[in-house]
């Protein structure tokens, strides 16, 4: 049975924890709004980009000489996985969910005897993966210094990918991130970016585009940009998801702390009352015996 003093100390400590989680929730809520706005603002760019590429790839007739970034190298031996996570913890299952999704994919690749290469973006992902997959991690990027997500950072990651592709270091590239659905739900996503998975809809949208210069040249210029754009989109979605996830987690923590305080207070009052009763009994029985 803890003493009254111990109980009092525990109540104060839980209360101050509650204050912290509450503050974190507020901060996350404010950041979430901004992140969500950014994610929405960034959408038109990636959508338009996709459209253009779709239109372009439709008009390419010579599939064999098409850029390799679009159609692939013809092999599927080496898989490069980009795992995008947060730099900070205390955001519920956010990081773990991405890692879980990625690990399933990793196991599949390994069991099929293919080569696996991992690039982690964000320090939390690296921390969680290095124990089990240390030998596969080829690069570990973190943007802790940059306050906001910007295209420049995404472009850096994109350039690394292109560079590796040009050196024939991988055949297939997939990215893992959390898609922001709403504040409570974030869906871990797996998206293949090299070769580009075309949505096959031959709805006969035959727009006879005029190309200047020719299709091949445009495509080879556009595809590297598209990779950066996809990464950027993933980063935006991720940051909105991170804040949403953190907000929910901190809300839960605040509520749990409240419950704990209630329980501890009852226990405190009870033992205080017990002590008083005990003293009373002692006094009364002492008086009686006189």
């Amino acid at each position: 049975m803890p003493s009254l003093d111990d109980l009092r100390k525990r109540i104060t400590s839980v209360k101050s924890t509650q204050k912290i989680t509450k503050a974190m929730k507020m901060v996350a809520a404010a950041k979430l709004r901004k992140a969500q706005e950014n994610a929405e603002k960034g959408r038109p760019y990636s959508e338009k980009m996709n459209n253009v590429i779709l239109n372009l790839s439709k008009s390419i007739t010579d599939k064999e000489n098409a850029p390799k970034l679009l159609v692939g190298t013809g092999e599927e031996k080496v898989h490069l996985c980009i795992v995008l996570t947060a730099d900070r913890g205390l955001c519920g299952g956010f990081n773990t969910n991405i890692i879980k999704k990625a690990k399933i994919y990793f196991e599949k690749i390994i069991s099929e005897n293919k080569t696996l290469k991992i690039i982690t973006v964000g320090s939390k992902g690296y921390d969680q993966l290095k124990r089990q997959y240390k030998s596969y991690i080829v690069e570990n990027i973190s943007f802790k210094e940059s306050k906001n997500i910007n295209y420049f950072d995404a472009d850096k990651v994109g350039k690394i990918i292109i560079e590796k592709f040009e050196k024939n270091e991988f055949d297939v590239c997939a990215i893992f991130y959390n898609k922001f659905k709403n504040v409570i739900t974030q869906i871990p996503q797996e998206q293949q970016i090299v070769p580009l998975n075309e949505d096959k809809d031959d709805s006969g949208n035959d727009n006879d585009y005029e190309f200047e210069p020719d299709e091949d040249e445009i495509l080879s210029n556009l595809l590297p940009k598209n990779i950066s754009t996809q990464i950027f989109k993933a980063m935006l979605e991720n940051s909105a998801s991170e804040q949403g996830s953190r907000m929910t987690a901190m809300d839960n923590a605040t509520r749990n702390a409240g419950e704990l305080v209630d329980r501890l207070t009852i226990e405190y009052n009870r033992s205080r009352q017990a002590a008083i009763t005990k003293e009373l009994i002692e006094i009364i029985s002492g008086a009686e015996s006189l």
Binding site: K41, G42, Y45, V52, N55, L56, Y151, Y209, P213, L222
Partner: protein, 132 residues
Amino acid sequence: MSNHFNIDIVNPEQSFLSKDNVFEVVIPAVEGEIGILKDHIPIISFLKPGIIRVFSESEEQSFYVEDGIVEFKDNTLSVLTSSIFNLKDADKNFVSESISSAEAELSKDNIDDQKRFLLNHKVEVLKSISIN
């Protein structure tokens, strides 16, 4: 019948400009400037450093772009670019910095002709901006 069409300029962060009452846009495409009017045939091209001029009835706007892709289709011109600014809000320091960084790049030996051409062009355009 009006001779207006739509223009959307987007960069990765946000939608930069969206208008539906322009009647001519001049874009610095990689193989030369293109003027686009209503009912132009569908076209996809990409940009070299230069100035986009947007003409509408009431005003004329000019933007500096470094690179990007343009698509014209169904009377909508979409410009995707990662670096753009309005000439009116041009930051003198930024412009002169860009010039010097481009010139530094030019002085390297290992650049190919196409890149050299683009950089030369960029310096030229930026200088013309800083004079005005």
